[in-house]
């Protein structure tokens, strides 16, 4: 798996395709995280922005290897493992982006609540932000795994359904990503840090199921 991850990472980093989601994420942060604004708002915004970016990264990674090359690597390692490696590469890349985004939000924002100027503990807030990032990256990976090949093979279905799923994951009431983000933003009013343990665990479960399903589908022809 280490060799497959190295191969997929090289495919991602040496292509210029990672640039677009990076620019999108940077644009989200530039618009949403303002200098001197309340910390928890910035962290919540950063995490929310990570979800569509992760789904996009997944799309890039699972389509990054040309068919003929994928046949060779699938023969060597099995189609499921090859697919798992591409999903993991996207997820790890998203985690890296999330960490950078959180560091930026911590540096740019002021550790105070949005109402009444209550001090917010910096490190617990940053930790909660990272965990919310994780929840969003996991859910973005789940969306990407389900809304791309091998589950959805045609771009005509994959792209719109992926966008819709990202939107739902962000705004739907039961979504763990929504819970993690709104936990941070709501806490920002009073200056209380809500660590999103349960949303992160739920996202992990969803990602596990989605990734397992997608990897099982790899190698099956419809």
């Amino acid at each position: 798996m280490k060799a497959l991850l190295g191969y997929q990472t090289e495919l991602l980093t040496r292509s210029q395709r990672w640039l677009s989601p990076l620019v999108l994420y940077a644009a989200f942060l530039a618009v949403g995280v303002q200098w001197g604004e309340p910390l928890l708002d910035g962290l919540g915004y950063t995490s929310a922005a990570l979800l569509p970016v992760t789904a996009w990264l997944v799309r890039i990674c699972v389509n990054g290897e040309p068919d003929a090359a994928r046949q060779c690597s699938a023969a060597a390692a099995g189609p499921g493992r090859v697919h798992l490696a591409s999903l993991l590469t996207a997820f790890l890349g998203a985690c890296l982006l999330g960490a950078a985004g959180t560091a930026f939000a911590v540096a740019a924002s002021e550790p105070y609540s949005s109402e009444g100027h209550v001090a917010v503990p910096l490190w617990p807030a940053a930790g909660a932000g990272l965990l919310a990032d994780l929840a969003c990256a996991l859910l973005g990976t789940a969306v990407g795994a389900l809304c791309n090949r091998p589950v959805m093979r045609s771009a005509g279905w994959a792209v719109p359904s992926g966008m819709l799923a990202v939107l739902l994951a962000l705004v739907a009431a039961g979504s763990p990503a929504n819970a993690a983000v709104s936990g941070l933003v709501t806490g920002s009013h009073s200056g209380t840090v809500t660590v999103p343990y349960i949303p992160a665990a739920l996202s992990a479960g969803a990602a596990l199921l989605a990734v397992a399903f997608a990897c099982r589908q790899a190698g099956r022809r419809v």
Partner: protein, 266 residues
């Protein structure tokens, strides 16, 4: 679409798969290689597999050597071994000048050499070749023939499809025909009717045994053996196996008297 396929591949064998265009040869090969999963039934006991597709238009953002080393690592080789073997095989195919060339800049023939090297450098126990010879120049084709013979000699199973009925003629240990959505064992059946030559070109090796030594079992290419004198033996094998046979004999301290390429039998 294939149905009701029941196939057992032996170790140390060369297997030819034939059939009309669109009959499902490539599907069968991808199933054997484990690239595709059958919708019903299962495939068991598959060893580590290397695969060569017919075309390798891999517009990937890495150099030839980087790609080969990565693939070698995926097959479980160490980094330095992978690099060494990649260089060796590129050299054998006369493509070592391309080691630092990005894959996207290669010609069709050169990319085929890369993907063939990818498969041969790992010494896989199962090698699946889907028209791998297509796009290679004659010298590279012969090299691939010999490499296949050497792999089989070392105990691997090689499964191949090629549009040329004379490819490795007379060397295959089993032949399967894909037609009407099924697979039929046609090993040893009237090759001429399938458009293949009776046996293909062969090489005759006259060798002298060391005193008191008998001919070893299981020589490469299952040679036809004729004892011509007290110590001298004449062995005949398909051309692709001639080097492997000589290696086998020399390793047993046999003395080689002559090597002659036989005229194609009619």
């Amino acid at each position: 679409m294939l149905r009701g396929v029941d196939l057992t591949l032996q170790e140390k064998s060369l297997v030819r798969v034939e059939g009309a265009n669109g009959s499902g040869k490539s599907t069968l090969l991808r199933l054997i290689a484990g690239i595709d999963v059958p919708s019903a039934g299962r495939i068991t006991g598959r060893p580590r597999c290397a695969y060569v597709p017919e075309r390798f238009p891999a517009a990937m953002p890495m150099t030839v050597l980087d790609y080969l080393v990565r693939m070698g690592r995926i097959h479980g080789l160490g980094r330095s071994t992978a690099r060494e073997r990649a260089r060796e095989w590129l050299e054998r195919f006369g493509a070592d000048a391309y080691a630092r060339t990005p894959l996207s800049e290669l010609s069709k023939g050169s990319s085929q050499k890369v993907v063939v090297s990818q498969a041969l450098m790992v010494g896989a126990e199962l090698l699946v070749l889907d028209e791998a010879w297509t796009g290679l120049e004659p010298a590279a084709r012969t090299m691939l023939d010999r490499a296949v013979a050497a792999l089989v000699t070392d105990g691997s199973t090689v499964v191949f499809v090629d549009h040329d009925p004379g490819r490795l003629a007379g060397a295959a240990d089993a032949t399967y025909r894909v037609e009407d959505g099924g697979v039929r064992d046609v090993t040893g059946q009237e090759p001429q009717r399938r458009g293949a030559p009776a046996s293909g070109p062969r090489v005759r090796v006259e060798a002298e045994a060391p005193p008191g030594v008998v001919l070893p079992e299981g020589l490469p290419g299952s040679p036809q053996v004729r004892h011509t004198g007290e110590d001298t033996t004449v062995l005949t094998v398909p051309v692709a196996y001639s080097d492997a046979l000589l290696r086998g004999l020399l390793a047993g301290y046999w003395h080689i008297r002559s090597v002659v390429r036989e005229e194609q039998p009619r």
